[in-house]
């Protein structure tokens, strides 16, 4: 359903010269869509050069699919224009909300996991996919609170959105882990409830462990616990495009690329011992 792009990294300012002047060895690159909508100059030139060298995926942060606030038509128009220009291999945003009273929080807040919210999100995803003319991946966010009103689990909610709205999922393995620690659930139960054919991309990132609270910082190396969960994800979902997010204290490019290589090794190790879903499907057709 979705292309397997291999192992990628986010396009960040600190590495823009490397992507503009060299050809860093990375399978694909993820760019934040809003940073390029209607804009040009050097950032756009870096994106253009990058996409000539390798596949690019576009990741939005402002859709607010779960917000009650109406979808912003100007935003969708610019999204569509950017997609037409950049021709990304995948597009994504978050299963969250972040707008109210005509304002943007620029944060990714969890929604209540209720039938009311499910219907709201499903209807909006369909409209977004109609406007953009293609399927979008929705990413699970990390969260620090749960609504009293929730009567579904997060994983059932996420799975239902994907099925009913016919969209894909961007499974952020670190976010699953962070939320599992903050709310006390088994992260493997979460992964096992997600329909395997809906997952079009993985995210991996570092977090900050404060004991009673785990914060999704996108800083530092991926933790051992998240690598372990990633192994479980590869066993279940197979050879899915996998991206390292490192946005705070962004390291030198070689450090970031090494983290991406580590993900490649981990995935390869898992695939070697476990025929993954996609591998076995391939064998069956040969």
């Amino acid at each position: 359903m979705f292309p397997s792009l291999g192992h990628g990294v986010g396009l960040r300012n600190r590495h823009s010269s490397a992507f503009l002047e060299e050809q860093p060895r990375v399978d694909f690159v993820e760019a934040i869509a809003e940073n390029f909508m209607g804009l040009g100059g050097r950032p756009r030139a870096v994106l253009e050069k990058t996409r000539r060298d390798r596949p690019v995926v576009l990741h939005g942060v402002s859709l607010g699919i779960g917000s009650v606030e109406p979808l912003d038509p100007a935003y969708l128009t610019q999204w569509k224009a950017l997609i037409d220009e950049v021709q990304p291999a995948l597009i994504s945003d978050h299963l969250c909300w972040g707008r109210a009273h005509g304002h943007y929080s620029h944060d990714l807040w969890p929604v209540p996991y209720t039938e009311e919210c499910l219907a709201h999100v499903v209807e909006r995803v369909s409209r977004v996919q109609d406007v953009l003319g293609r399927r979008i991946l929705l990413e699970n966010v990390s969260s620090y609170l749960e609504f009293r009103a929730s009567d579904l689990t997060e994983w059932d909610f996420v799975a239902e959105v994907a099925k009913r709205a016919d969209c894909g999922l961007l499974l952020d393995v670190n976010n699953v882990y962070v939320s599992s620690r903050n709310h006390g659930f088994d992260p493997k139960t979460y992964l096992d409830a997600i329909p395997a054919d809906r997952v079009g991309q993985f995210h991996l990132a570092g977090h900050q462990d404060r004991g009673h609270l785990v914060i999704d910082t996108h800083e530092g190396h991926v933790s051992d616990a998240v690598w372990e969960l990633y192994r479980h994800a590869v066993r279940r979902f197979g050879d899915v495009s996998c991206l390292i997010e490192w946005d705070e204290g962004v390291p030198e490019l070689p450090v970031l690329l090494a983290e991406s290589q580590k993900a490649r090794s981990v995935a390869a190790e898992v695939s070697a011992v476990t025929p993954t879903r996609r591998n076995s499907a391939l064998e069956a057709t040969r």
Binding site: L39, G40, Y104, S105, L145, A149, L213
Partner: protein
């Protein structure tokens, strides 16, 4: 509680338009109390916006220092919550906000903020064609009344009551802004991008007026009118200015 009510309530707690109380009605407890959970989001909301403003207005931040800048940022974010989907626009009202609420001892700070804002917007302005020097050949006595000049989207014109250029230079060079003598004088600046590099320079009042017209596209007679104070010399002066704009890559199109 409806989805709309839940979102409206959480929004007000997080952005600080309502006191954080009775949170247990909306939010589950656990290892952290509902109040603590709301505060995690409130802190993230504030720090994200604060950091964007610190980046966008690095020179204003350098002048004010962390503490005073944060006071300014907090007041600003309250007065101007983000209305645009991109954080790139968060700071759009900060220069005007500083002008309306001047900082003690630094009444000129709004002008520095406006220069920083113009430079960063010019850096990411939409790409456009740049008219080549030959395009000036389109201007002949026969076409003079019907030639239209349009500047590139990267051009910005600023008008200040003080020249902040030496201040900008000093801070960019890591020197103390306190050592820079500021001269109160009407100053017009043009900001523009050449390739990937942003420049700013002082221009005369007449040229600034002409540039302001050219941003939306202007006919040659209108541009000459901006130089009318020079009498018979208006047309040659206008043409001289336009030629320098073309040479500096500020002109997108010359159309007859």
């Amino acid at each position: 509680m409806s989805l709309a009510e839940q979102q409206s309530q959480l929004w007000e707690w997080v952005v600080g338009t309502a006191p954080v109380r009775d949170t247990a009605v909306l939010i589950k407890a656990g290892a952290l109390s509902p109040d603590e959970r709301v505060n995690v989001y409130a802190e993230m909301y504030w720090l994200r916006l604060r950091d964007v403003l610190r980046d966008e207005f690095a020179q204003v931040h350098a002048v004010l220092g962390d503490e005073n800048f944060d006071v300014l940022a907090a007041k600003y974010v309250k007065a101007h919550p983000s209305t645009h989907f991109s954080l790139n626009w968060l700071g759009q009202h900060l220069p005007a906000f500083l002008k309306a609420h001047p900082v003690d001892g630094a009444p000129w700070l709004w002008a520095l903020a406006e220069l920083e804002w113009a430079r960063s917007q010019s850096f990411i302005a939409a790409d456009s064609a740049v008219a080549p020097p030959e395009a000036l050949g389109l201007v002949t006595p026969e076409t003079a009344d019907s030639v239209r000049f349009t500047l590139t989207p990267s051009v910005r014109v600023l008008r200040h009551d003080v020249d902040v250029r030496p201040l900008f230079r000093a801070i960019a060079d890591g020197q103390s802004w306190r050592d820079v003598p500021l001269v109160a004088a009407p100053t017009a600046l043009v900001v523009f991008r050449q390739g990937f590099t942003v420049f700013h320079d002082a221009v005369s009042d007449a040229e600034a007026t002409a540039l302001e017209l050219g941003v939306n596209g202007a006919m040659l007679p209108e541009l000459c009118e901006a130089f009318s104070e020079f009498g018979d010399d208006a047309a040659p002066r206008a043409f001289q200015a336009i030629a320098s704009w073309v040479n500096e890559g500020m002109v997108a199109r010359v159309e007859v």
